[in-house]
Subunit: 279 residues, 2 copies
Protein backbone atom coordinates (compact mmCIF):
# COMPACT_ATOMS: atom_id res chain seq x y z
CA UNK A 1 0.00 0.00 0.00
CA UNK A 2 3.07 2.21 0.40
CA UNK A 3 3.49 2.86 -3.26
CA UNK A 4 -0.10 3.73 -4.08
CA UNK A 5 -0.17 5.83 -0.88
CA UNK A 6 2.95 7.64 -2.02
CA UNK A 7 1.48 8.18 -5.52
CA UNK A 8 -1.72 9.46 -3.97
CA UNK A 9 0.33 11.80 -1.79
CA UNK A 10 2.17 13.08 -4.87
CA UNK A 11 -1.08 13.51 -6.78
CA UNK A 12 -2.59 15.38 -3.86
CA UNK A 13 0.58 17.46 -3.52
CA UNK A 14 0.36 18.37 -7.21
CA UNK A 15 -3.30 19.25 -6.79
CA UNK A 16 -2.41 21.28 -3.68
CA UNK A 17 0.42 23.03 -5.54
CA UNK A 18 -1.94 23.82 -8.39
CA UNK A 19 -4.61 25.14 -6.06
CA UNK A 20 -2.06 27.23 -4.17
CA UNK A 21 -0.62 28.53 -7.48
CA UNK A 22 -4.11 29.52 -8.65
CA UNK A 23 -4.78 31.22 -5.31
CA UNK A 24 -1.44 33.05 -5.47
CA UNK A 25 -2.26 34.20 -9.00
CA UNK A 26 -5.70 35.36 -7.91
CA UNK A 27 -4.38 37.17 -4.84
CA UNK A 28 -1.64 38.73 -6.92
CA UNK A 29 -4.27 40.07 -9.38
CA UNK A 30 -6.33 41.36 -6.45
CA UNK A 31 -3.26 43.03 -4.96
CA UNK A 32 -2.43 44.73 -8.27
CA UNK A 33 -6.04 45.91 -8.59
CA UNK A 34 -5.97 47.23 -5.03
CA UNK A 35 -2.66 49.02 -5.55
CA UNK A 36 -4.00 50.68 -8.71
CA UNK A 37 -7.01 51.85 -6.74
CA UNK A 38 -5.04 53.15 -3.80
CA UNK A 39 -1.75 54.28 -5.35
CA UNK A 40 -0.95 57.94 -5.04
CA UNK A 41 -0.43 59.66 -8.34
CA UNK A 42 3.22 60.40 -9.18
CA UNK A 43 2.86 63.95 -10.44
CA UNK A 44 5.50 65.14 -12.87
CA UNK A 45 5.94 68.92 -13.23
CA UNK A 46 8.12 70.48 -15.92
CA UNK A 47 8.75 74.05 -17.00
CA UNK A 48 8.66 74.44 -20.77
CA UNK A 49 9.94 77.38 -22.79
CA UNK A 50 8.25 77.99 -26.10
CA UNK A 51 7.77 80.76 -28.64
CA UNK A 52 4.99 82.78 -30.19
CA UNK A 53 6.56 84.83 -32.96
CA UNK A 54 9.70 86.30 -31.40
CA UNK A 55 8.34 86.22 -27.86
CA UNK A 56 9.55 83.60 -25.40
CA UNK A 57 6.82 82.13 -23.21
CA UNK A 58 7.23 79.87 -20.21
CA UNK A 59 4.54 77.34 -19.39
CA UNK A 60 4.27 74.41 -17.02
CA UNK A 61 3.47 70.84 -18.02
CA UNK A 62 1.93 68.56 -15.40
CA UNK A 63 0.97 64.90 -15.64
CA UNK A 64 0.89 61.68 -13.67
CA UNK A 65 3.91 59.66 -14.76
CA UNK A 66 2.65 56.54 -13.01
CA UNK A 67 0.34 56.18 -16.03
CA UNK A 68 1.42 54.97 -19.44
CA UNK A 69 -0.02 55.73 -22.83
CA UNK A 70 -1.88 58.57 -24.43
CA UNK A 71 -4.58 60.49 -22.60
CA UNK A 72 -6.67 63.66 -22.99
CA UNK A 73 -4.85 66.97 -22.70
CA UNK A 74 -6.11 70.08 -20.94
CA UNK A 75 -4.72 73.56 -21.55
CA UNK A 76 -4.98 75.78 -18.45
CA UNK A 77 -5.07 79.53 -19.05
CA UNK A 78 -4.16 81.87 -16.23
CA UNK A 79 -6.06 84.75 -14.66
CA UNK A 80 -4.96 88.38 -14.84
CA UNK A 81 -2.02 87.90 -12.43
CA UNK A 82 -0.34 85.64 -15.00
CA UNK A 83 0.88 82.09 -14.46
CA UNK A 84 0.97 81.54 -10.69
CA UNK A 85 0.83 78.67 -8.24
CA UNK A 86 -2.94 78.75 -8.65
CA UNK A 87 -2.81 77.44 -12.24
CA UNK A 88 -0.17 74.85 -11.30
CA UNK A 89 -2.46 73.61 -8.54
CA UNK A 90 -5.36 73.27 -10.99
CA UNK A 91 -3.02 71.47 -13.41
CA UNK A 92 -2.11 69.02 -10.63
CA UNK A 93 -5.80 68.43 -9.95
CA UNK A 94 -6.28 67.73 -13.66
CA UNK A 95 -3.24 65.41 -13.71
CA UNK A 96 -4.78 63.53 -10.79
CA UNK A 97 -7.90 63.07 -12.91
CA UNK A 98 -5.67 61.40 -15.50
CA UNK A 99 -5.10 64.25 -17.96
CA UNK A 100 -1.95 65.88 -19.28
CA UNK A 101 -2.27 69.53 -18.26
CA UNK A 102 -0.29 72.40 -19.69
CA UNK A 103 -0.41 75.84 -18.08
CA UNK A 104 -0.04 78.28 -20.94
CA UNK A 105 1.79 81.57 -20.54
CA UNK A 106 0.07 84.43 -22.33
CA UNK A 107 2.14 87.34 -21.03
CA UNK A 108 5.69 86.06 -21.73
CA UNK A 109 8.60 84.64 -19.77
CA UNK A 110 9.29 86.65 -16.63
CA UNK A 111 6.17 88.78 -17.00
CA UNK A 112 4.39 87.99 -13.76
CA UNK A 113 2.42 91.01 -12.48
CA UNK A 114 3.22 91.86 -8.88
CA UNK A 115 0.11 93.87 -8.18
CA UNK A 116 -3.35 94.79 -9.38
CA UNK A 117 -2.02 97.70 -11.42
CA UNK A 118 0.45 95.54 -13.38
CA UNK A 119 -2.14 92.80 -13.76
CA UNK A 120 -4.66 95.26 -15.16
CA UNK A 121 -2.12 96.62 -17.65
CA UNK A 122 -1.18 93.14 -18.91
CA UNK A 123 -4.73 91.79 -19.10
CA UNK A 124 -5.86 95.02 -20.75
CA UNK A 125 -3.15 94.75 -23.41
CA UNK A 126 -4.36 91.33 -24.57
CA UNK A 127 -8.06 92.04 -24.11
CA UNK A 128 -7.50 95.00 -26.41
CA UNK A 129 -5.65 92.90 -29.01
CA UNK A 130 -7.68 89.76 -29.49
CA UNK A 131 -5.62 88.67 -32.51
CA UNK A 132 -2.49 88.61 -30.37
CA UNK A 133 -4.38 86.90 -27.55
CA UNK A 134 -5.49 84.16 -29.95
CA UNK A 135 -1.93 83.71 -31.23
CA UNK A 136 -0.61 83.41 -27.70
CA UNK A 137 -3.16 80.86 -26.55
CA UNK A 138 -2.78 78.83 -29.75
CA UNK A 139 0.99 78.74 -29.17
CA UNK A 140 0.28 77.09 -25.82
CA UNK A 141 -2.13 74.68 -27.44
CA UNK A 142 0.57 73.65 -29.91
CA UNK A 143 2.89 72.69 -27.04
CA UNK A 144 0.19 70.45 -25.60
CA UNK A 145 -0.65 68.91 -28.98
CA UNK A 146 2.99 68.03 -29.64
CA UNK A 147 3.37 66.23 -26.33
CA UNK A 148 3.65 62.52 -27.02
CA UNK A 149 1.43 61.60 -24.07
CA UNK A 150 -1.52 63.59 -25.43
CA UNK A 151 -4.34 62.05 -27.43
CA UNK A 152 -4.74 64.96 -29.86
CA UNK A 153 -8.38 64.08 -30.62
CA UNK A 154 -9.20 64.74 -26.97
CA UNK A 155 -8.04 68.19 -25.96
CA UNK A 156 -9.85 70.81 -23.91
CA UNK A 157 -8.94 74.23 -22.58
CA UNK A 158 -9.99 75.74 -19.26
CA UNK A 159 -9.40 79.28 -18.12
CA UNK A 160 -9.97 81.47 -15.11
CA UNK A 161 -11.11 85.13 -15.25
CA UNK A 162 -8.83 86.60 -17.98
CA UNK A 163 -8.11 82.99 -18.95
CA UNK A 164 -11.85 82.33 -19.23
CA UNK A 165 -12.10 85.11 -21.78
CA UNK A 166 -9.02 83.65 -23.49
CA UNK A 167 -10.42 80.13 -23.94
CA UNK A 168 -13.55 81.60 -25.54
CA UNK A 169 -11.19 83.43 -27.93
CA UNK A 170 -9.44 80.11 -28.55
CA UNK A 171 -12.79 78.64 -29.61
CA UNK A 172 -13.54 81.71 -31.77
CA UNK A 173 -10.15 81.29 -33.47
CA UNK A 174 -11.40 77.95 -34.82
CA UNK A 175 -8.94 75.89 -32.76
CA UNK A 176 -9.31 72.15 -33.18
CA UNK A 177 -10.18 71.26 -29.58
CA UNK A 178 -13.07 69.22 -28.18
CA UNK A 179 -14.25 71.82 -25.69
CA UNK A 180 -13.47 74.90 -23.62
CA UNK A 181 -14.54 75.80 -20.09
CA UNK A 182 -14.54 79.39 -18.87
CA UNK A 183 -14.57 79.92 -15.10
CA UNK A 184 -15.79 83.43 -14.23
CA UNK A 185 -14.37 84.71 -17.49
CA UNK A 186 -15.50 87.96 -19.05
CA UNK A 187 -17.86 86.98 -21.87
CA UNK A 188 -17.75 90.16 -23.89
CA UNK A 189 -17.75 89.42 -27.59
CA UNK A 190 -15.86 91.99 -29.67
CA UNK A 191 -15.87 89.77 -32.79
CA UNK A 192 -19.22 87.96 -32.76
CA UNK A 193 -18.94 87.07 -36.45
CA UNK A 194 -16.00 84.81 -35.60
CA UNK A 195 -18.38 82.44 -33.82
CA UNK A 196 -18.84 80.76 -37.22
CA UNK A 197 -15.29 79.41 -36.77
CA UNK A 198 -16.16 77.50 -33.59
CA UNK A 199 -15.44 73.76 -33.84
CA UNK A 200 -15.80 72.83 -30.16
CA UNK A 201 -18.31 72.71 -27.32
CA UNK A 202 -18.34 75.54 -24.79
CA UNK A 203 -19.23 75.65 -21.10
CA UNK A 204 -19.22 78.93 -19.18
CA UNK A 205 -19.32 78.70 -15.38
CA UNK A 206 -20.43 82.07 -14.03
CA UNK A 207 -21.13 83.69 -10.69
CA UNK A 208 -24.78 84.74 -10.70
CA UNK A 209 -23.76 87.86 -8.77
CA UNK A 210 -20.53 88.70 -10.61
CA UNK A 211 -20.50 92.51 -10.86
CA UNK A 212 -17.76 92.39 -13.50
CA UNK A 213 -20.00 90.46 -15.87
CA UNK A 214 -22.00 93.19 -17.56
CA UNK A 215 -25.54 92.18 -18.56
CA UNK A 216 -24.93 93.54 -22.07
CA UNK A 217 -21.80 91.35 -22.41
CA UNK A 218 -23.78 88.31 -21.31
CA UNK A 219 -26.53 89.10 -23.78
CA UNK A 220 -23.97 89.63 -26.57
CA UNK A 221 -22.29 86.31 -25.77
CA UNK A 222 -25.60 84.47 -25.86
CA UNK A 223 -26.57 86.08 -29.18
CA UNK A 224 -23.18 85.24 -30.63
CA UNK A 225 -23.54 81.57 -29.64
CA UNK A 226 -27.14 81.39 -30.86
CA UNK A 227 -26.43 83.01 -34.20
CA UNK A 228 -23.55 80.62 -34.84
CA UNK A 229 -25.61 77.63 -33.63
CA UNK A 230 -22.70 76.77 -31.37
CA UNK A 231 -22.91 73.95 -28.82
CA UNK A 232 -22.82 75.99 -25.63
CA UNK A 233 -23.95 75.98 -21.99
CA UNK A 234 -23.82 78.52 -19.22
CA UNK A 235 -24.20 77.69 -15.53
CA UNK A 236 -24.90 80.40 -12.97
CA UNK A 237 -24.03 79.75 -9.34
CA UNK A 238 -26.24 81.67 -6.93
CA UNK A 239 -24.41 83.77 -4.37
CA UNK A 240 -21.12 83.61 -6.30
CA UNK A 241 -19.36 86.78 -7.39
CA UNK A 242 -16.22 87.19 -9.51
CA UNK A 243 -13.20 84.88 -9.00
CA UNK A 244 -15.29 82.34 -7.10
CA UNK A 245 -12.75 79.56 -7.69
CA UNK A 246 -9.72 81.58 -6.54
CA UNK A 247 -8.76 81.85 -2.88
CA UNK A 248 -6.43 84.72 -3.84
CA UNK A 249 -7.64 86.65 -6.89
CA UNK A 250 -5.24 89.52 -6.26
CA UNK A 251 -7.81 91.50 -4.35
CA UNK A 252 -10.82 90.57 -2.28
CA UNK A 253 -13.92 92.66 -1.96
CA UNK A 254 -17.64 92.16 -2.24
CA UNK A 255 -17.28 91.80 -6.00
CA UNK A 256 -14.48 89.23 -6.13
CA UNK A 257 -14.39 86.52 -3.52
CA UNK A 258 -13.73 82.81 -3.16
CA UNK A 259 -16.88 80.69 -2.85
CA UNK A 260 -16.14 77.09 -1.91
CA UNK A 261 -19.58 75.82 -2.89
CA UNK A 262 -19.46 77.38 -6.37
CA UNK A 263 -15.85 76.26 -6.76
CA UNK A 264 -16.76 72.63 -6.08
CA UNK A 265 -19.90 72.76 -8.20
CA UNK A 266 -18.15 74.28 -11.19
CA UNK A 267 -15.32 71.74 -10.93
CA UNK A 268 -17.89 68.92 -10.91
CA UNK A 269 -19.65 70.54 -13.87
CA UNK A 270 -16.33 70.66 -15.75
CA UNK A 271 -15.85 66.95 -15.04
CA UNK A 272 -19.33 66.22 -16.42
CA UNK A 273 -18.46 68.27 -19.52
CA UNK A 274 -15.16 66.39 -19.95
CA UNK A 275 -16.95 63.05 -19.59
CA UNK A 276 -19.08 64.09 -22.55
CA UNK A 277 -16.41 65.58 -24.82
CA UNK A 278 -13.73 62.96 -24.09
CA UNK A 279 -16.01 59.98 -24.81
Amino acid sequence: MAEPGHLLSLAILRRTDYVIWRMKKLFSSLLIAASVLTSRAAIHTETIEYKQGDTTLEGVLVYDDANQGKRPGVLVVHQWLGLTGYEKHRAEMLAQLGYVAFCADIYGKGIRPKDVSEAGAQAGKYKGDRALLRDRVNAGLDVLKKNELVDTRRIAAVGYCFGGTTVIELALSGADVAGVVSFHGGLDAPSPADAKNIKCKLLACAGADDPFQKPEDLAAFESEMRDAKADWEINFYGGAVHSFTQPDPGFVNAGAKYNEKADKRSWADMKRFFAEIFQ
Copy 2:
Protein backbone atom coordinates in the same frame (compact mmCIF):
# COMPACT_ATOMS: atom_id res chain seq x y z
CA MET B 1 5.55 3.34 5.33
CA ALA B 2 1.88 2.76 4.64
CA GLU B 3 0.67 4.29 7.84
CA PRO B 4 2.77 7.47 7.75
CA GLY B 5 1.97 7.75 4.01
CA HIS B 6 -1.72 7.44 4.82
CA LEU B 7 -1.41 10.04 7.57
CA LEU B 8 0.47 12.31 5.19
CA SER B 9 -2.26 11.79 2.58
CA LEU B 10 -4.90 12.68 5.16
CA ALA B 11 -2.94 15.77 6.24
CA ILE B 12 -2.54 16.82 2.63
CA LEU B 13 -6.21 16.09 1.95
CA ARG B 14 -7.15 18.28 4.93
CA ARG B 15 -4.83 21.00 3.64
CA THR B 16 -6.31 20.58 0.14
CA ASP B 17 -9.82 20.70 1.56
CA TYR B 18 -8.96 23.84 3.49
CA VAL B 19 -7.41 25.50 0.44
CA ILE B 20 -10.39 24.51 -1.73
CA TRP B 21 -12.79 25.74 0.97
CA ARG B 22 -10.92 29.09 1.10
CA MET B 23 -11.01 29.33 -2.68
CA LYS B 24 -14.70 28.48 -2.79
CA LYS B 25 -15.36 31.14 -0.19
CA LEU B 26 -13.33 33.67 -2.13
CA PHE B 27 -14.98 32.80 -5.42
CA SER B 28 -18.38 32.90 -3.78
CA SER B 29 -17.64 36.43 -2.48
CA LEU B 30 -16.46 37.45 -5.93
CA LEU B 31 -19.57 35.96 -7.51
CA ILE B 32 -21.81 37.85 -5.08
CA ALA B 33 -19.91 41.06 -5.81
CA ALA B 34 -20.19 40.44 -9.55
CA SER B 35 -23.91 39.68 -9.32
CA VAL B 36 -24.49 42.90 -7.36
CA LEU B 37 -22.64 44.80 -10.07
CA THR B 38 -24.42 43.16 -12.97
CA SER B 39 -27.85 42.31 -11.56
CA ARG B 40 -30.73 44.04 -13.22
CA ALA B 41 -32.73 46.13 -10.81
CA ALA B 42 -36.00 44.56 -9.72
CA ILE B 43 -38.25 47.56 -10.13
CA HIS B 44 -41.38 47.61 -8.03
CA THR B 45 -44.22 49.88 -9.22
CA GLU B 46 -47.29 50.55 -7.11
CA THR B 47 -50.28 52.85 -7.53
CA ILE B 48 -51.09 54.74 -4.34
CA GLU B 49 -54.31 56.59 -3.56
CA TYR B 50 -54.01 59.48 -1.15
CA LYS B 51 -55.89 62.60 -0.14
CA GLN B 52 -55.42 66.34 -0.09
CA GLY B 53 -58.37 67.77 1.77
CA ASP B 54 -61.40 65.99 0.28
CA THR B 55 -59.74 65.33 -3.05
CA THR B 56 -58.52 61.86 -3.94
CA LEU B 57 -55.18 61.79 -5.71
CA GLU B 58 -53.51 58.85 -7.37
CA GLY B 59 -49.72 58.66 -7.49
CA VAL B 60 -47.21 56.00 -8.43
CA LEU B 61 -44.46 54.70 -6.17
CA VAL B 62 -41.39 53.15 -7.81
CA TYR B 63 -38.34 51.58 -6.20
CA ASP B 64 -35.84 48.78 -6.63
CA ASP B 65 -36.95 45.99 -4.30
CA ALA B 66 -33.67 44.12 -4.75
CA ASN B 67 -32.24 46.66 -2.32
CA GLN B 68 -32.80 46.65 1.41
CA GLY B 69 -32.79 49.48 3.88
CA LYS B 70 -33.56 53.15 3.82
CA ARG B 71 -32.50 55.34 0.90
CA PRO B 72 -33.11 58.86 -0.41
CA GLY B 73 -36.57 59.65 -1.75
CA VAL B 74 -37.37 61.71 -4.84
CA LEU B 75 -40.77 63.24 -5.54
CA VAL B 76 -41.50 63.51 -9.27
CA VAL B 77 -43.98 66.17 -10.34
CA HIS B 78 -45.69 65.89 -13.70
CA GLN B 79 -45.93 68.26 -16.63
CA TRP B 80 -49.14 69.90 -17.79
CA LEU B 81 -50.60 66.67 -19.25
CA GLY B 82 -50.79 65.23 -15.72
CA LEU B 83 -49.29 61.97 -14.49
CA THR B 84 -48.36 59.98 -17.61
CA GLY B 85 -45.96 57.22 -18.62
CA TYR B 86 -43.29 59.91 -18.92
CA GLU B 87 -43.14 60.51 -15.17
CA LYS B 88 -43.25 56.77 -14.46
CA HIS B 89 -40.28 56.32 -16.77
CA ARG B 90 -38.35 59.04 -14.94
CA ALA B 91 -39.29 57.40 -11.64
CA GLU B 92 -37.89 54.09 -12.93
CA MET B 93 -34.68 55.84 -13.91
CA LEU B 94 -34.48 57.27 -10.38
CA ALA B 95 -35.21 53.85 -8.86
CA GLN B 96 -32.36 52.43 -10.93
CA LEU B 97 -30.12 55.07 -9.37
CA GLY B 98 -31.12 53.65 -5.97
CA TYR B 99 -33.80 56.11 -4.89
CA VAL B 100 -37.42 55.63 -3.87
CA ALA B 101 -39.40 57.71 -6.36
CA PHE B 102 -42.98 58.84 -5.96
CA CYS B 103 -44.86 60.40 -8.87
CA ALA B 104 -47.21 62.90 -7.28
CA ASP B 105 -50.64 63.60 -8.70
CA ILE B 106 -51.52 67.29 -8.61
CA TYR B 107 -54.76 67.22 -10.65
CA GLY B 108 -56.64 64.40 -8.90
CA LYS B 109 -57.55 60.78 -9.55
CA GLY B 110 -58.81 60.27 -13.09
CA ILE B 111 -57.96 63.79 -14.17
CA ARG B 112 -55.59 63.10 -17.02
CA PRO B 113 -55.91 65.74 -19.78
CA LYS B 114 -56.46 64.23 -23.19
CA ASP B 115 -55.34 67.22 -25.21
CA VAL B 116 -53.61 70.56 -25.10
CA SER B 117 -56.81 72.39 -24.29
CA GLU B 118 -57.57 70.25 -21.21
CA ALA B 119 -53.93 70.38 -20.16
CA GLY B 120 -53.91 74.17 -20.38
CA ALA B 121 -57.08 74.41 -18.29
CA GLN B 122 -55.72 72.14 -15.54
CA ALA B 123 -52.25 73.68 -15.42
CA GLY B 124 -53.79 77.16 -15.50
CA LYS B 125 -56.06 76.33 -12.54
CA TYR B 126 -53.14 75.47 -10.28
CA LYS B 127 -50.79 78.13 -11.61
CA GLY B 128 -53.52 80.60 -10.71
CA ASP B 129 -53.96 79.18 -7.20
CA ARG B 130 -50.48 78.71 -5.79
CA ALA B 131 -51.79 77.96 -2.29
CA LEU B 132 -53.72 74.97 -3.64
CA LEU B 133 -50.72 73.94 -5.75
CA ARG B 134 -48.54 73.95 -2.64
CA ASP B 135 -51.08 71.89 -0.71
CA ARG B 136 -51.27 69.35 -3.51
CA VAL B 137 -47.52 68.92 -3.88
CA ASN B 138 -47.02 68.75 -0.11
CA ALA B 139 -49.65 65.97 0.05
CA GLY B 140 -47.49 63.98 -2.37
CA LEU B 141 -44.40 64.73 -0.32
CA ASP B 142 -46.14 63.35 2.77
CA VAL B 143 -46.74 60.02 1.03
CA LEU B 144 -43.04 59.77 0.21
CA LYS B 145 -42.02 60.77 3.73
CA LYS B 146 -44.21 58.12 5.30
CA ASN B 147 -42.77 55.35 3.17
CA GLU B 148 -40.67 53.12 5.41
CA LEU B 149 -37.92 52.74 2.78
CA VAL B 150 -37.29 56.48 2.66
CA ASP B 151 -34.53 58.20 4.62
CA THR B 152 -36.53 61.31 5.48
CA ARG B 153 -33.41 63.46 5.92
CA ARG B 154 -32.60 62.88 2.26
CA ILE B 155 -35.54 63.88 0.10
CA ALA B 156 -35.57 65.85 -3.13
CA ALA B 157 -38.26 66.85 -5.60
CA VAL B 158 -37.91 67.09 -9.36
CA GLY B 159 -40.47 68.45 -11.78
CA TYR B 160 -40.97 68.94 -15.49
CA CYS B 161 -42.52 72.05 -17.10
CA PHE B 162 -45.63 72.63 -14.91
CA GLY B 163 -43.98 70.29 -12.38
CA GLY B 164 -40.84 72.42 -12.49
CA THR B 165 -42.89 75.43 -11.43
CA THR B 166 -44.50 73.22 -8.78
CA VAL B 167 -41.26 72.10 -7.14
CA ILE B 168 -40.17 75.74 -6.85
CA GLU B 169 -43.50 76.35 -5.09
CA LEU B 170 -42.73 73.38 -2.85
CA ALA B 171 -39.48 75.09 -1.85
CA LEU B 172 -41.29 78.42 -1.34
CA SER B 173 -43.80 76.65 0.93
CA GLY B 174 -40.92 75.93 3.31
CA ALA B 175 -41.06 72.18 2.78
CA ASP B 176 -38.41 70.23 4.66
CA VAL B 177 -36.58 68.73 1.68
CA ALA B 178 -32.88 68.73 0.81
CA GLY B 179 -33.30 70.10 -2.70
CA VAL B 180 -35.53 70.66 -5.71
CA VAL B 181 -34.73 70.45 -9.43
CA SER B 182 -36.87 72.20 -12.02
CA PHE B 183 -36.55 70.97 -15.61
CA HIS B 184 -37.78 73.60 -18.08
CA GLY B 185 -40.23 74.85 -15.47
CA GLY B 186 -41.80 78.29 -15.64
CA LEU B 187 -39.88 80.40 -13.11
CA ASP B 188 -42.38 83.18 -12.63
CA ALA B 189 -42.53 84.26 -9.00
CA PRO B 190 -45.95 85.53 -7.92
CA SER B 191 -45.01 85.45 -4.22
CA PRO B 192 -41.35 86.49 -4.04
CA ALA B 193 -41.60 87.30 -0.33
CA ASP B 194 -42.14 83.59 0.36
CA ALA B 195 -38.54 82.90 -0.63
CA LYS B 196 -37.67 83.58 3.01
CA ASN B 197 -39.34 80.22 3.79
CA ILE B 198 -36.93 78.25 1.61
CA LYS B 199 -35.05 75.54 3.52
CA CYS B 200 -33.55 73.65 0.59
CA LYS B 201 -31.13 74.02 -2.32
CA LEU B 202 -32.53 74.74 -5.78
CA LEU B 203 -31.34 73.85 -9.26
CA ALA B 204 -33.16 75.10 -12.35
CA CYS B 205 -32.30 73.42 -15.65
CA ALA B 206 -33.46 75.69 -18.45
CA GLY B 207 -33.44 75.78 -22.23
CA ALA B 208 -31.42 78.82 -23.28
CA ASP B 209 -33.89 79.32 -26.16
CA ASP B 210 -37.12 78.49 -24.31
CA PRO B 211 -39.69 80.98 -25.70
CA PHE B 212 -42.09 80.23 -22.82
CA GLN B 213 -39.58 81.46 -20.28
CA LYS B 214 -40.17 85.20 -20.26
CA PRO B 215 -37.04 87.30 -19.53
CA GLU B 216 -39.00 89.23 -16.87
CA ASP B 217 -39.92 85.94 -15.13
CA LEU B 218 -36.28 84.87 -15.15
CA ALA B 219 -35.20 88.21 -13.76
CA ALA B 220 -37.90 88.03 -11.06
CA PHE B 221 -36.84 84.51 -10.08
CA GLU B 222 -33.21 85.56 -9.79
CA SER B 223 -34.11 88.60 -7.69
CA GLU B 224 -36.28 86.45 -5.45
CA MET B 225 -33.46 83.98 -4.86
CA ARG B 226 -30.90 86.73 -4.31
CA ASP B 227 -33.06 88.69 -1.89
CA ALA B 228 -33.72 85.57 0.17
CA LYS B 229 -30.04 84.53 0.02
CA ALA B 230 -31.24 81.14 -1.15
CA ASP B 231 -28.81 78.43 -2.27
CA TRP B 232 -29.65 78.30 -5.97
CA GLU B 233 -28.21 77.52 -9.39
CA ILE B 234 -29.50 77.86 -12.91
CA ASN B 235 -28.07 76.04 -15.91
CA PHE B 236 -28.88 77.13 -19.45
CA TYR B 237 -28.49 74.63 -22.27
CA GLY B 238 -27.70 76.29 -25.61
CA GLY B 239 -30.00 75.32 -28.47
CA ALA B 240 -32.64 73.87 -26.12
CA VAL B 241 -36.21 75.16 -26.18
CA HIS B 242 -39.16 74.27 -23.93
CA SER B 243 -39.79 70.62 -22.92
CA PHE B 244 -36.27 69.60 -23.89
CA THR B 245 -36.43 66.44 -21.77
CA GLN B 246 -39.78 65.26 -23.13
CA PRO B 247 -40.06 63.25 -26.34
CA ASP B 248 -43.81 63.93 -26.30
CA PRO B 249 -44.70 67.22 -24.61
CA GLY B 250 -48.25 67.18 -25.97
CA PHE B 251 -47.32 69.29 -28.94
CA VAL B 252 -44.14 69.84 -30.90
CA ASN B 253 -43.15 73.04 -32.58
CA ALA B 254 -40.12 75.26 -32.75
CA GLY B 255 -40.79 76.38 -29.17
CA ALA B 256 -41.20 72.98 -27.52
CA LYS B 257 -39.05 70.13 -28.68
CA TYR B 258 -37.06 67.22 -27.33
CA ASN B 259 -33.29 67.80 -27.25
CA GLU B 260 -31.33 64.66 -26.44
CA LYS B 261 -28.13 66.52 -25.60
CA ALA B 262 -29.82 68.88 -23.15
CA ASP B 263 -31.82 65.98 -21.72
CA LYS B 264 -28.65 64.00 -20.95
CA ARG B 265 -26.79 67.03 -19.66
CA SER B 266 -29.58 68.10 -17.33
CA TRP B 267 -29.96 64.55 -16.00
CA ALA B 268 -26.22 64.44 -15.28
CA ASP B 269 -26.48 67.86 -13.62
CA MET B 270 -29.30 66.54 -11.44
CA LYS B 271 -27.12 63.61 -10.41
CA ARG B 272 -24.31 66.00 -9.47
CA PHE B 273 -26.82 68.02 -7.42
CA PHE B 274 -28.11 64.86 -5.70
CA ALA B 275 -24.54 63.78 -4.92
CA GLU B 276 -24.15 67.07 -3.06
CA ILE B 277 -27.48 67.22 -1.23
CA PHE B 278 -27.62 63.52 -0.30
CA GLN B 279 -24.12 63.46 1.22
